[in-house]
Amino acid sequence: MNEINFKLEAGEIVGYIGVNGAGKSTTIKMLTGVLMPTSGSIKVLGRDPHKQRVDNAHDIGVVFGQRTQLWWDLALIESLNLIAKIYNVHPVKYKLMLDQFTETLELDELLKIPVRNMSLGQKMRSELAAALIHEPRVVYLDEPTIGLDLIVKERIRDFIKAQCISKSMTVILTTHDLGDIEELCQRVIIIDDGRIIYDGPIETIKKKFGKFREITFETVEDVKTLDLPDGAEMLSTDDHKVQIRFDRTVSTASKVAGAVMNQIDVRDFSLSEPELSDIVKQIYNGALEREAR
């Protein structure tokens, strides 16, 4: 990692993104105090996270999507009780938080189940409860929705959003999921090879690079040519499948779908959003610099 600079204010949710090995987790580890920087300085709530690691730990919450902080063989409620003791959460406050989390994250039936018997989605909901039960002021979420289905993802995003608004929590979210970023973050920091290559509003990224959508049509017969509205182009046509890309600042999905369906018989169609990784790839390839020129 090389000369990273940024500042976060209370209540901000920032998407911290980059490909594997870019330095995201290293930053998080330094912010939590697990790693010491080679040079430069970090202040989290005015403290040095490494030198004041215990004090820092008291005010932060961490969720690593691929690791668990819950005790594998214990029932969730036992893990939560233990965490509340470790963080010295007042029993009245703990009861209040537990009731709130049980309701919003639907933990009722999970409280008595050992973590090893939970599904991925159930585990992630439990992880979030464990990370936030002591009301941290700063939360680091590393891939919190990895491998989850859309319904659970949505529930987790809503929960994070509500917690941030009600408690003015500051969140750093690392993810490869464009949906997470779009739903939760106003600001995004993109890191590549240990350097920040973009720090700014998510809107800028979306406007510049997320304007294309793709529609795939499954057709009754093979198609050679199609008359398409402005901003749309045929990417491929093969074996009863037609793939069309359109610029949503110029056209709409309904216009494109309508035009296609007026000309051919369609059995099925699906709309796909650009992957965040593709957008990030464009930025790595100097797309931002080209835009600035």
């Binding site: 990273i4 600079n5 940024f6 204010e9 080679t38 040079s39 430069g40 002021r137 750093i172």
Partner: protein, 39 residues
């Protein structure tokens, strides 16, 4: 005041050099024991 402030943050991971053979293993154990004692 900002909640998080990061300035000129740099992290370089040093990969420890390993020496081949029995001599290297003994040296490695010796260095490790010193580190443990220092803790």
């Amino acid at each position: 005041m900002s909640v998080i402030e990061v300035k000129q943050l740099t992290k370089v991971f040093k990969i420890p050099k390993k020496e081949a053979g029995l001599g290297g293993a003994v040296k490695g154990l010796f260095i490790r024991s010193i580190k443990i004692r220092r803790r």
